[in-house]
């Protein structure tokens, strides 16, 4: 294929996390075979999984959290002023997690830094100055440590991968099926394991499988209150005089599958809520199962058959809900909703209707094969020809900056602070609809100014060791506009030129 610098920008920025600095050769590779560059990642078996020693499964994290909470309670009852976060079980877990972070980081730095011109510079994480480190840091508890270790592993992975398309898919699906770490301790400690267990295994698998994994994950069950929902006529409901909570059921249909206007009624919401009563997770005492793992609590399950979206489901226990979810995943409205959202994320706020229709068809024909969906997107000419009109999200911006400057963070603090500042706190959207996915959200005045402040901060720490003109070649080579090139060449300092490069349309748009 002929060399195509414009398509290289599409491959690197629309589909990936941006070109890596140093001698990665990303731009050259992407320019010589743009589609191949992106698709290469899709054929790597288990390429989406994130397994690092010390990143623990959800149940183990749940156990650590329960232990920590029990400790805090015990300390409080003893009248002690404050629980020591690092004690006993929780301590062991926390230290394991810290080691996990280091391990990932070491492996990562070697693979990227080797033969890298920038590697000699002291490693600094991209980000904000004043927000970190805090003046007198309190020792972190196991929940905060876990959140940070998970964040670090995710950021490091995104920083080192070649194109980053698969990691972009993870971020897309994770936001589609978002939980919020802000809901409480369970969602904070499980934010990372939720993504590792319910999202990553399926981003190139089946939508229906991801749906089931998500809705049965303790993090989601806690986030949308389903562990509190009791069938009104179940034994637990009768005994405890409590009943339904339709929060999860509604968001499954409105946000996860059919979409609003997707052909369901209030009665369907209530019915689905009844069907998934009993979907819960085991608590500290482990009466129903391993603490912190998904359990079906038959005692809380609403008895009897249920009629949902015109179809009857016998009461078969947990499989009643699984059958319902499987049907919802195959519903035509789901294909339509997912196709439009997928295209909007990667291509344009208002994606070409023909492209959306094709993706919808592929989703339906393949029974929600998400690898087929991704390939259909990459094979579509519209996806390559549409102008680079979308703004990078704050997360994409920060990851792209780290990649360009070949900085693999060994602490997530700066990145997390920057994400907070830019309005996209990691795994913490303000509602179950996730972070916005439009230019209106990310090209807003406040946000633009803050991006510039962050670019200037980063540049002031790092620019002495780089030549912004070389970095422009890494980012865009001959796809850079004359104006951008001139603006960078005429910068009054390396710092200023680097900040301008990081803020240039070539770096911000995708």
């Amino acid at each position: 294929m002929a060399r195509d610098p414009q398509a290289a920008l599409v491959a690197l920025n629309r589909f990936g996390f941006g070109a890596r600095g140093g001698s990665s050769g990303d731009f050259v590779n992407a320019a010589s075979d743009p589609r191949g560059f992106v698709k290469a990642e899709l054929s790597r078996p288990n390429g989406a999984l994130l397994e690092a020693s010390g990143l623990l499964p959800t149940a183990a994290l749940g156990q650590a959290m329960f232990d920590y909470q029990a400790q805090v309670r015990a300390q409080r009852e003893l009248g002690a002023p404050k629980a020591k976060p690092d004690a006993g079980m929780a301590d062991t877990q926390a230290r394991m997690m810290e080691r996990a972070g280091e391990a990932v980081q070491n492996a990562a730095s070697e693979s990227v830094m080797a033969g890298n011109a920038v590697a000699m510079a002291p490693r600094v994480a991209p980000a904000v100055g004043t927000a970190s480190p805090p003046p007198n840091p309190q020792p972190l508890n196991v929940i905060q440590k876990t959140y940070r270790a998970e964040a670090l592993a995710r950021i490091q992975r995104a920083s080192i991968v070649e194109c980053g398309f698969v990691e972009r898919l993870v971020v897309f699906w994770s936001n589609h099926f978002c939980i919020s770490a802000g809901k409480g301790e369970p969602t904070r400690i499980w934010a990372g394991s939720f993504e590792r267990e319910a999202i990553r295994p399926y981003v190139l698998g089946r939508f229906g499988d991801m749906l089931k994994a998500v809705e049965q994950h303790p993090a989601m069950l806690f986030f949308l209150d389903n562990q509190q929902s009791l069938g009104p006529d179940s034994r637990a409901g009768q005994n405890r005089k409590r009943g339904l909570n339709e929060n999860l059921a509604r968001e499954i249909m409105e946000l996860h599958t059919l979409g609003v206007g997707g052909g369901y009624s209030q009665e369907d919401v209530t019915t689905l809520a009844r069907i998934i009563t009993g979907w819960s997770f085991a608590g500290r005492e482990g009466r129903l199962g391993t603490p912190g793992s998904f359990v079906f609590n038959a005692n809380a399950h609403q008895p009897g058959p249920q009629r949902l979206l015109g179809k009857s489901y016998e009461n078969t226990g947990v499989t009643q809900g699984e059958a319902a979810l499987a049907d919802i995943a195959r519903h035509p409205s789901t294909a339509k909703f997912i196709a439009a959202k997928f295209a909007r994320h990667f291509v344009a706020d208002d994606p070409p209707p023909a492209l959306v229709a094709r993706l919808e068809g592929v989703f339906r024909k393949t029974d929600g094969d998400l690898k087929a969906l991704s390939l259909a997107l990459l094979d579509a000419d519209e996806a390559w020809q549409a102008p680079l009109s979308k703004m990078r999200t704050p997360y994409e911006y920060l990851i792209a900056t780290g990649r360009l400057l070949a900085r693999i963070p060994d602490d997530p603090g700066r990145a997390l602070s920057s994400l907070n500042v830019l309005g996209q706190p990691l795994w913490t959207p303000s509602g179950p609809n996730g972070f916005a996915d439009t230019n209106a959200a990310w090209a807003a005045p406040e946000g633009m100014k803050l991006r510039l402040d962050i670019a200037a901060q980063t540049a002031s720490r790092i620019a002495d060791s780089v030549d912004p003109r070389d970095l422009l070649e890494v980012v865009a080579a001959d796809a850079a506009s004359t104006e951008t090139r001139r603006t960078i060449e005429r910068g009054e300092s390396r710092q200023q030129a680097l900040a301008l490069l990081l803020m240039s349309p070539e770096f911000q748009r995708r």
């Binding site: 100055g129 004043t130 927000a131 840091p137 972190l140 959140y147 940070r148 802000g182 409480g184 301790e185 209150d225 929902s229 009791l230 409901g237 409590r242 009943g243 339904l244 909570n245 339709e246 929060n247 509604r250 409105e254 609003v260 209030q266 608590g283 997390l416 602070s417 907070n420 500042v421 309005g423 706190p425 913490t428 303000s430 509602g431 609809n433 209106a440 959200a441 990310w442 090209a443 807003a444 005045p445 406040e446 946000g447 633009m448 100014k449 803050l450 510039l452 402040d453 962050i454 200037a456 901060q457 506009s481 104006e483 910068g491 009054e492 200023q496 301008l500 240039s504 349309p505 911000q508």
Partner: protein, 413 residues
């Protein structure tokens, strides 16, 4: 199983900016109304506060005189006596005890409640419900512009607010939909970051002007506003929670709006009202949020100083919540709720309601407080009496196809 979920929203290093974006935002019209500086004219200010997530109206202003209320709201029902007693507004309605400031304004006849109110939206999606509330259209799917923005277009336009602000203005989600549209707006939020050098910013604006005009507009505006709003009381304070965020935004907004050339018409959005579980009664989660709102109203009053006399604050939400509490001591998405009015220009001291009753047969779809007042009627009344918009503009462009929804007269004066 009991779960303690009271951890702060973000990490210890969380900045106030994050909390603001996560919990509260502010945007304003970029122009002064023409009559703002007329020598003998009034100089009205209007603030619209959107509560996202659906406020439980029955928990905010409780119909303690309705025989069915206590049974439906169960363990979280307010009572006019006992510990944490609700504050009686009249013989029938009582205000949540965490709103002493609003209660004081009510007694001073500068605050009013409209009860059993709803937008024309009758389904229960937050996002569609907010779109209807803010767009001013009768149904969802119209998100190009908001009713407040279209109201601005109908006002005679005077000078620009905050001299020197740029001309073309792009607006993001920090401007709530209610204020999005053709009439230029400005947004602002305090930050903790050191600023990039002016020279760098100007070079970037220059580059954007040539290559990316939309970004040029956005960045220019962002630069301008941040300068204006900087002040001593805007220094970062650690450990600010969502409630503090409401008050900080209110304080900053009041400061901007109190200035002689400051915005006269603004909108804020506060998140977090979706109380599905453990909503709490006189104390608890909703109580905390309401105390944040109450504090924000008081901050507007003190921050606006003498201008409070000419101010109306409207507090509205996308829909109400179920009349009966759900199985988890919370409430699910419902229909009828309250709207609150506060400000020196409000003809207050009353609860305005055509009360539908809470008997099973009177509930909307046997679950929600039935709406008897269209929220648009309230908003039209305020825009008509306070800003002088014509009934025709209100019925045709501000709230399209709403001629049959008559403005509620006499809310302001």
């Amino acid at each position: 199983m009991t779960m303690d979920c009271c951890e702060s929203r973000t990490s210890p290093a969380a900045t106030r900016r994050a909390l603001l974006l996560g919990g509260a935002s502010f945007a304003a019209w970029a122009y002064l109304p023409k009559f703002a500086r007329a020598a003998d004219g009034r100089d009205p200010r209007l603030i619209v506060i959107i509560l996202r997530g659906a406020l439980d109206g029955l928990a905010t202003v409780a119909p303690v005189g309705d025989p069915d209320y206590a049974g439906l709201h169960g363990s979280i029902a307010l009572a006019p006596d006992g510990p944490h007693a609700a504050i009686l507004l009249d013989s029938f309605f009582a205000l949540h005890p965490s709103m002493p400031e609003f209660s004081r304004m009510y007694k001073e006849k500068h605050a009013a409640v409209v009860h059993a109110v709803a937008t024309p939206y009758r389904d229960r999606s937050h996002f569609d419900g907010q779109d209807v509330l803010e767009s001013g259209f009768a149904g969802p799917g119209r998100v190009q512009s908001g009713w407040l923005n279209r109201a601005l277009e109908a006002l005679p336009r005077g000078e620009r607010v905050m001299s020197g602000a740029v001309s073309a203005l792009a607006v993001g989600p920090t401007a709530p939909l209610v204020l999005r549209g053709a009439a230029p707006t400005v947004g602002w939020a305090p930050v903790t970051l050191p600023n990039a050098a002016d020279d760098t910013a100007m070079r970037l604006v220059e580059l954007y002007k040539h290559r990316d005009p939309a970004l040029a507009a956005a960045l220019s505006q962002g630069l301008q506003l941040d300068k204006i709003a900087q002040g001593d009381d805007m220094k970062p304070k650690p450990n600010t929670n969502a409630i503090g965020a409401m008050r900080l935004v209110a304080r900053g907004a009041a400061k901007l709006m109190a200035a002689d050339d400051g915005p006269r018409i603004a909108a804020l959005a506060f998140d977090g009202w979706d109380t599905h579980a453990n909503e709490g009664g006189p104390v608890g989660r909703l109580a905390q949020l309401l105390s944040g709102l109450d504090g924000a109203l008081a901050d507007f009053e003190s921050g606006l100083g003498a201008h409070w006399r000419d101010t109306v604050v409207v507090v509205a939400t996308e829909f109400g919540r179920t009349a009966r509490i759900n199985g988890t001591a919370g409430t699910d998405h419902g229909t009828g709720t309250v709207a609150l009015l506060a400000g020196g220009a409000v003809k207050g001291g009353r609860v305005i309601s055509d009360w539908p009753g809470l008997k099973p047969a009177n509930l909307f779809e046997a679950r929600d407080l039935a709406p008897t007042t269209d929220l648009r009627a309230v908003l039209k009344g305020v825009l008509h009496d306070h800003l002088g918009l014509s009934e025709r503009a209100l019925a045709e462009t501000v709230f399209p196809d709403s001629a049959m929804v008559r403005p509620v007269k006499g809310l302001v004066g």
